[in-house]
């Protein structure tokens, strides 16, 4: 099995090469088959790997020494431990479903082959990220997914705004990457190695000198902020919705944005020494969870709502990491991958049916026209809102419980509020989109159709996963069998939580906490039903909004603030530098040299006046000087 490990990332890479080099000449069926087939192969291999490492062992496979400079030695090596095997399953599993869905969704697109090539490259990079056994390979994958994200956001690059969104994502990620890179430098400087095992073994020497691990952890977290769209670098993710919808589902909801979570979980032994870094993570996560959820309340673009929901859910995952509950965060990564991919693909199905319409104010009443999409969307909404026994219910409840356990009631209440807001905007999205009267144009009404089977089957599979996914890690007090299986499975790869005095909550408190959040979430859903279905409210036009709604709809004007604070001053600075440093100083010097020699030449040419007597005189004087100089 071990020798097959490299095949897992290289299958998608082969798919990328074939589709990228020859895809233009291949029929669409072949492109789709190669694209999805390679991912399916990777998924099956991942399953085999998973069954090998299930009991907590790890396997490594070194291909060659990638870099050897002085004391720095980096192997091109793959590592499959419970954590990376689990991530591989999510990436290839959800990735495969989304590839299949894309065959239907992108069918009429001219860049069909290009799309699949990019998707395969993305899966390759992501697998490299989670499978590498050192920080450099992680960095390769990290940059690779950033590149694919850029390519896919700007997939319809004829549209200028989409191109700008792609650039925004790339630059925002670059800011985070700087932190990650500095963190990796500091790791090498401190531990003398980039290999996970050696670094994490070296951590023990810093038990009493925690500031270096703290700095490393904070730098790594800066990278995670960029990639996983947390405050203050989250604004690229909602704009990333410019890409085709399967991209939003795969990259900007299910996998790439969870790279930051993976990074922190992977470095859990480092973070265990840095409680202050964990505090920063928890605060950032909680703030992002609430902030993004609030913005999501008043978005009218179906994909934007889901995008802010993703940012908010990622915030919850970071909250869990900040609580030292690494396996809880990975659990939420898993369930979130299921239901958010489901919701995005469902939204894609709606957009497909409406011929590109994304504004929920122009939808409505789609329940009858798109029965499959409707039902899977209901499941996704209930799962993310925390409907009892669906996947989101378990994972969110576990985050809330860990928060209460670790930081007390105030934190729990704030986290629960973000959960409530989630239920609110998801209810609003569901009811406005699928209930009431159809509000689109007549042409759209005639065009309404359920998506083909190649799109609905992945939706149904994801819906099933969204329903049962929670049973991977049922809390022990529920006695539902397989209790906390995922936590036990992941335990060998993760550090123990930092706080020793953790008191495990008694079952009664857990029941109480769970009861409160669940009842409130259901109440909010019912309320949303009352407002948007019974009273038939439709979100108002932009111009008719109340001040607070307008503030939310405009995303707290954060983009404008960044534009004012960073983009404009930078642009001014660049223009100034361009004018003064480039045009004036550098060009001035170059042109000055030219002009000076021209001026000199203009003076010296006058010697060449054509008068032979004058030449003769010059010659004699010259000769005299020459001879005279001999006597000196």
């Amino acid at each position: 099995m071990q020798s097959l490990l490299p095949l897992i990332p290289f299958l998608p890479f082969a798919g990328f090469l074939i589709n990228g080099l020859f895809g233009r000449r291949l029929p669409k069926t072949a492109v789709g088959l190669i694209g999805s087939g390679t991912i399916l192969g990777a998924f099956l291999l991942s399953l085999a790997v998973f069954s090998d490492v299930r009991n907590g062992t790890a396997m490594e496979q070194t291909l060659y020494t990638f870099l050897h400079v002085d004391s720095l030695q980096v192997q091109f090596a793959f590592l499959a431990d419970p954590l990376s095997a689990w991530m591989m399953l999510i990436i290839t599993g959800v990735g495969f479903l989304i590839h299949v869905y894309s065959i239907g969704y992108m069918h009429d697109d001219e860049g069909f082959w290009k799309f699949f090539a990019y998707l395969n490259l993305f899966v390759f990079s992501m697998l490299l990220l989670v499978m590498g056994d050192n920080f450099l390979m992680l960095f390769f994958g990290w940059e690779g997914v950033g590149l694919c994200s850029y390519l896919l956001i700007g997939f319809w690059y004829e549209n200028r705004a989409y191109g700008h969104a792609a650039r925004k994502a790339f630059i925002m990620n670059r800011i985070g990457d700087l932190g990650l890179l500095l963190g990796i430098f500091l790791i090498f400087n401190t531990f003398g190695s980039l290999q996970y095992r050696e670094v994490f073994e070296g951590v023990a020497n810093y038990q009493n000198n925690a500031w270096i691990p703290t700095v490393i952890c904070l730098l790594l977290f800066v990278g995670a902020i960029g990639k996983s769209a947390q405050i203050p670098l989250y604004t690229w993710l909602p704009d990333a919705m410019a890409g085709p919808t399967p991209v939003s589902a795969l990259i900007h909801a299910a996998t790439m944005v969870t790279a930051g979570i993976y990074l922190v979980a992977r470095c859990s032994s480092l973070y265990a020494l840095a409680p202050h870094a964990l505090e920063v993570i928890a605060i950032t996560g909680l703030a992002t969870a609430i902030f993004a959820a609030l913005i999501g309340l008043r978005q009218n673009d179906i994909k934007k709502v889901l995008a802010y929901s993703t940012v908010s859910q990622l915030g919850l995952m970071f909250l869990a990491l900040g609580m030292g509950a690494y396996s809880t965060a990975i659990f939420h990564v898993t369930t979130h991958a299921f239901f958010k991919a489901l919701l995005f693909l469902g939204a894609g199905s709606v957009i497909h049916a409406l011929g590109g319409e994304q504004d929920i104010r122009n939808m409505g009443g789609l329940r009858k026209a798109l029965p499959v999409t409707f039902w899977v969307f209901v499941i996704g909404t209930l799962a993310i809102s925390g409907f009892p026994l669906l996947s989101g219910f378990f994972s969110k409840d576990e985050i809330f419980a860990k928060t209460y356990e670790h930081s007390g009631a105030l934190w729990w209440a704030l986290a629960a509020i973000s959960g409530l807001i989630t239920a609110t905007y998801m209810g609003r999205l569901l009811f406005v989109t699928f209930f009431g009267e159809f509000r689109g144009t007549e042409a759209q009404r005639a065009h309404l159709h359920e998506s083909p089977a190649v799109m609905t089957i992945p939706l149904i599979v994801l819906a099933v996963l969204s329903v049962v996914g929670g049973f991977l890690n049922t809390p022990h007090f529920l006695h539902l069998g397989g209790s906390e299986w995922l936590s036990h499975y992941l335990a060998p790869a993760l550090a123990r939580p930092a706080t020793p005095e953790t008191h495990v909550l008694d079952a009664r408190t857990e029941w109480l906490l769970m009861g409160i959040t669940t009842v409130l979430a259901l109440l909010v859903l019912v309320l949303a039903y009352a407002v948007y279905v019974v009273r038939r409210n439709v979100p108002v036009a932009d111009s008719a909004m109340q001040p607070i709604a307008r503030l939310l709809a405009n995303k707290f004007y954060v983009d404008e603030a960044y534009d004012f604070l960073f983009v404009r001053p930078l642009e001014k600075l660049s223009k100034m530098l361009h004018y003064y440093a480039d045009i004036q100083a550098i060009d001035g010097v170059v042109n000055g040299v030219g002009r000076a020699s021209q001026l000199l030449g203009a003076q010296f040419r006058k010697l060449q006046n054509g008068n032979i007597e004058y030449y003769l005189l010059a010659m004699v004087v010259g000769a005299a000087l020459l001879v005279g100089s001999l006597f000196i």
Binding site: K606, Q608, G610, I612, L616, L617, V620
Partner: protein
């Protein structure tokens, strides 16, 4: 013969050839007739020849006289080319005045 030459002090040869060379230089610088200029150049060459021959005799070294032969050959060639050019100039300008030849300039 050698004795007769050696009765004249070497200084006199130096004065004479310097005088001849100076006349040549002055002629080159002041005259505008191309033929005169060429003749002055010849005068300068021959002043040098005289000096070379005199020193060769006084030092009893034949190298100076060999040098004189070389210079004579070069001077002959120079005169042939120079006069050839002069003939062409005269055909074009109907004059041998070098101050008229100022077309090659900036």
């Amino acid at each position: 013969m050698l004795d007769i030459i050696q009765t004249v002090p070497i200084d006199y040869f130096v004065y004479l050839s310097t005088l001849l060379f100076g006349i040549g230089v002055l002629g080159v610088l002041t005259r505008r007739n191309a033929i005169i200029v060429l003749m002055c150049v010849e005068l300068m060459l021959n002043a040098v020849n005289l000096l070379l021959a005199a020193f060769s005799t006084y030092l009893g070294d034949a190298q100076g006289q060999i040098m004189v032969f070389f210079i004579m050959v070069v001077a002959a060639a120079e005169a042939a080319v120079g006069l050839g050019i002069l003939v062409m100039i005269y055909r074009n300008t109907k004059s041998t005045d070098i101050s008229l030849l100022d077309n090659l300039k900036y």
